[in-house]
């Protein structure tokens, strides 16, 4: 079938501002949008730039706005979006070129929530694993899935309004540790998230949950962090 695809283009070395270029290409309905982009890059305009690596939704490289909504280009098929497609960079991060945005502010926010395991207590005497029941493990299973694709944070109206907001991705990654029964720094992370640019900026707009390609219930994770701050209970 013929697909009409309108792509946001911006060449920092030539253009003052971005513009849209429309391409018409042949594609199969089971093709990924990423395949179409690859084809355009390979055969029509080699300069078209975007990030990609794994091509099956596990590396988080290719979050972009497809038909007005954040998705991974490698995880959405033509049959899901139809023959008229608009592809734009994700919102709220500086645009470097075409569909490539500057990810540094995103990773900077991520790094603020101490996104690493902290436990300074001595290891079990036998040197084996720290024990954790299957239930305790299940408590934070969902948020371990995050691939840091930024689809959530760049879909959040609060983040658009204010780039200082840590954003849903950072909170999701804090959640992964706050509710890990083996971790010992929940209080530090909660204090950070209780700050002005933390959870108070989330107004339950839900765009993040809808955007997450890993189907993490982002809003729910944020909600659990909020209630941990309000009640002090970590279960």
């Amino acid at each position: 079938m013929e697909v009409t695809i309108k792509i946001f283009r911006y060449n920092p070395e030539k253009d003052q501002r971005g513009n849209y270029v429309t391409y018409k290409v042949e594609a199969h309905e089971n093709d990924r949008v990423l395949d179409v982009l690859e084809y355009i890059k390979g055969k029509i305009d080699g300069a078209l730039s975007f990030r990609r690596s794994c091509a099956h939704g596990v590396c988080g490289s290719d979050a972009m706005r497809i038909n007005g909504r954040n998705m991974l280009a490698c995880k959405v098929l033509i049959r899901d979006v139809g023959a008229n497609i608009t592809v734009e960079p994700i919102l709220g991060l500086p645009i470097k070129k075409d569909l490539i945005v500057d990810m540094e502010p995103f990773f900077d926010n991520y790094k603020k929530v101490l996104p690493y395991f902290i436990n300074d207590s001595p290891l079990p005497a036998d040197g084996r694993e720290r024990l954790q029941s299957p239930e305790e493990r299940a408590r934070f299973d969902e948020t371990t899935k995050c691939i840091l694709c930024a689809a959530c944070t760049t879909s959040c109206p609060s983040y658009w309004a204010n780039g200082e907001y840590y954003g849903p991705a950072a909170i999701v990654n804090a959640h992964r540790f706050i509710f890990d029964s083996r971790d010992e720094a929940a209080d530090q992370r909660l204090q950070i998230l209780a700050e002005t640019d933390g959870i108070a900026r989330c107004h339950t707009a839900y765009n993040c949950t809808e955007a997450c390609p890993r189907e993490i219930k982002v809003t729910k994770a944020i909600g659990e962090v909020k209630m941990a701050i309000m009640t002090g209970k970590l279960d």
Binding site: E13, K41, G46, C54, C59, N119, R128, Q132, T144
Partner: protein, 597 residues
Amino acid sequence: MANVHQFDVVVVGAGGAGLMAGLYASRGAKTAVISKLYPTRSHTGAAQGGISAALGNYEEDKPEWHTYDTVKGSDYLGDQDAIEFMCSEAIDAVLELEHMGLPFDRTHEGRISQRPFGGHTNNETGKPVRRACHAADRTGHMILQTLYQQCLKNKVNFFDEYQVLDFILVNGRAAGVVAVELATGELHTFHAKAVIFATGGHGRIFEVTSNAYAYTGDGAAILLRRGIPLEDMEFFQFHPTGIYKLGILITEGVRGEGGILINGQGERFMPKYAPAVKDLASRDVISRAIYTEIREGRGVNGQNYVYLDVRPESVNRYAAMDGRTNPDGSPYTITGEQVLAKLPDIIDFCRVYLGVDPVTQMMPIQPTAHYTMGGIPTNKYGEVVVDDKDTIFPGLYAAGECACVSVHGANRLGTNSLLDLVVFGKHAGLKAAEYAKHTDFEKLPGDAESTARSAFDALRNGSGRENAFDISNELKKVMFEDVGIYRNEKDMTAALEKVRELQRRFKDVGVNDTGRIFNTELLNAWELGNMLEVAETVAVGALNRKESRGGHSREDYPERDDQNWLKHSLITKKDGRLEIGYKPVVITKYQPKARVY
């Protein structure tokens, strides 16, 4: 030379191996980790099934069994000293990951949960043993995330989105690397005492592959050009279960949980090929079995695929037939919910890409190019060795999929790669830091960047008569069809000819994008150059090896030939031509014998 950075140790690649190396090197030396992708985008994140270690959390298991299974899996081409080393370090390596916070699935006692995987057995009974430690079906993702997190915690220096183009060697020692910063297009020279390559594999030279776009063999190609040999390049693993046409991997864990393979006539065919372990035989065996079924007309609807069936009713039926039991002796059964809980990502892939729900439908699968067994030759400490006498190249290290220790020999067992990353990544990091401590910097040559720059210039100024996309597709097709699962003299000779023709045509590739900022067209073209380089070594190696062993099966030489071929091959590039040499296999405890499952 405006952009010169100086570090004791430079790690190229930020996947599992690179991060582990970076973590350990930075404890003893000033270290930089350079990666063309953001670290968390590395392909380690795609690994699904698990990481092996004889923890014995469910049932008896021993490192010796693990060692033997790996030796057998390698079809006796693996170096047994290195394998023994890896399998005995495995337990501590996995526990260390747990101590770093990795969220493994748990047993009821709260220990790390394990699942069976192809080729891992109880050596006494010959039955599959639970050795693969897992975090649902995203074990690699969790390893990658955990290691990256630890690197952040320990303030490791990262250069994200810097693509390494060249290796600098001075007086036969490592002196650094040259990289391009994607965001600006500027070249940077990293002056170093020790360089660790951890750039991953090159599965993208095949049409149907589970590998990432980034798997273009950069590390191997860069070093090949600099005169370092590559070992056992003919050995490439085809994973039996990739999603039909797309190649996306369906983990072996599916069969570990009881999934079975069904041909177009609705029969379970693996008992014919591996009577003892059936669907849990080693990968090369199953891939060939599937191919044989397809070639004999028993593919589904006459097409190139068969089914993988993990529907609970099928699993339970066949598990009862096989007499499979739980650790407590009760019959093994599984429910739809358990399938969902244990394999969430697989279910998701099938729904998204196939519109198939594995809980109620069978998945169409086909073998997919998966893992690079060969690579940069190293010893068990990650030190690169350049000849048959294991002579060390001072200051140069390699770890992970780009390296060939060799612990995987002719065929890698599932879950052994993640183990390889962690164990040899760590030792490469330690060795490099130690080496740097006792060494001075080599003086940088004045024109360190010139090779990289001229490679770029050639692409920028190419005539443009040829299109890189077309060349790339032709390469992938010919490699998959003629240097794939089944190989023979005639087809491979033609394929090699084709690869060389493509190399010539590549000289006429021109890049349209003249910009500097994120010039992905230029970088992709450069990567294509690497793929062509690496593909040639694969074809040459495969054509040369006149026997069938592990992942290398020749129709014209169907038997393993220990008499003549129980040796590693080393391919070196001299004056633009590939030369083949050999190196003995280290055999300690296990004498080669017939490999039956």
